[in-house]
Subunit: 254 residues, 2 copies
Amino acid sequence: MRRVALWITYEGTHFSGYQVQPNSRTVQEEIEKALSKIHKGETIRIYSSGRTDSGVHARGQVVHFDSSLDIPLIRWPKAINACLPSDIRIIEANHVSETFHSRYHAIKKEYHYRVLVRQEGDVFRRNLTHHITYPVNIERMQKAAEHLIGKHDFSSFCAANTDVKDKVRTLFDISIVLDQDEIVFKLVGNGFLYNMVRIIVGTLLEIGALKREVDELLLILQAMDRTVAGKTAPGNGLYLWRVSYENSIFSERY
Amino acid sequence: MRRVALWITYEGTHFSGYQVQPNSRTVQEEIEKALSKIHKGETIRIYSSGRTDSGVHARGQVVHFDSSLDIPLIRWPKAINACLPSDIRIIEANHVSETFHSRYHAIKKEYHYRVLVRQEGDVFRRNLTHHITYPVNIERMQKAAEHLIGKHDFSSFCAANTDVKDKVRTLFDISIVLDQDEIVFKLVGNGFLYNMVRIIVGTLLEIGALKREVDELLLILQAMDRTVAGKTAPGNGLYLWRVSYENSIFSERY
């Protein structure tokens, strides 16, 4: 038995999210079906670094599973990809220790959020960006975002429907950069609450659009109350970009 | 009655091409339905600069139609977009003379073709690029492409199933550039035959992959016989990029 970790990418558009649920097309189910095929019908359970919601994309999701097959590492991606639909691709595989867990051992996560700012929608990016037509001031958003960096109780930026008790997380960095007609938010933290990135981005966009004051973000954070923060930005702009572990698992381009 | 020209973009993935055909989702039908709604049920016929095939995209398609409505130009795109599915977007509208024809008056057309060169497919570009995993030599393709520039009978690069008699066209320019992990072919000509860009790209890729000699392209051109050229490259890498007229119709960014 060997434990294998996979670097996975998917376009979330046509999935009801990552996690298996009845009568829905999910990323987990597609991968488990593919692995089962390779293992001649054996049920293979995969464990991910975390779920992603409907419409949310992954550039660097990590999952692990145990296999009795003696397939050389370099062959794993091709073998699995051959059994997967084209909106999921395995980029790399690597062996990890038998105690490795893609979720519990993650020490850092990076999310990106892409906002397309222009009058007309872009047909080629309609599922890959959140499209807005109003102007936003990036400097205001950058200033406001500074309030969030560090270790805080992020209750105000967590969807109400969650069982998680401890809402303290550490945000290492937020950068907000203009890339042609897109504003890209990059958030790095030790972990993220349910909808946390989307509520942060939604609130920052309201500050960028002059609907809220820059320093309001501090008050929102201190309130520890979801109802005082801004709207949850839509899922289609969000990317699980990278998950980091004590020892890096994949090649440098990960 | 005013004649209106529209700058149209669409992602071709979920269309059976541009032209109306029974029991198929087509770009033309979607736009005509939208215009009919705006004209209170009146049938509005649109005329395009040319068809595009199933899976082929448009960044700069041009169509025209006649309208009795007195809608200010700036309002047209919004009004039509509100009635269109999200994989078609109108970028601009402008008034043109009542004798203008988007097809017959086109003097220059530009097509782009995007080839993704890497081992793994990219989920975010799977419908937007033609993905190859073998290496190709760009310089060889550039040298070969030079044979095509100018006024030639392009019979060898025209799909067999066409009614067009005169297969002489003028190719003004072909450029082939590397853009990170993509090779982008840009072709500019006074007009293109059915599948011409895709057969040229397919043949150039064979030359780039060392399956054919560089100077073979001259022999293929002279043969005036479709069977001697290379494979037709798939539709999903192709973009109708721009259509030019004696007088430019749209803003500078067109």
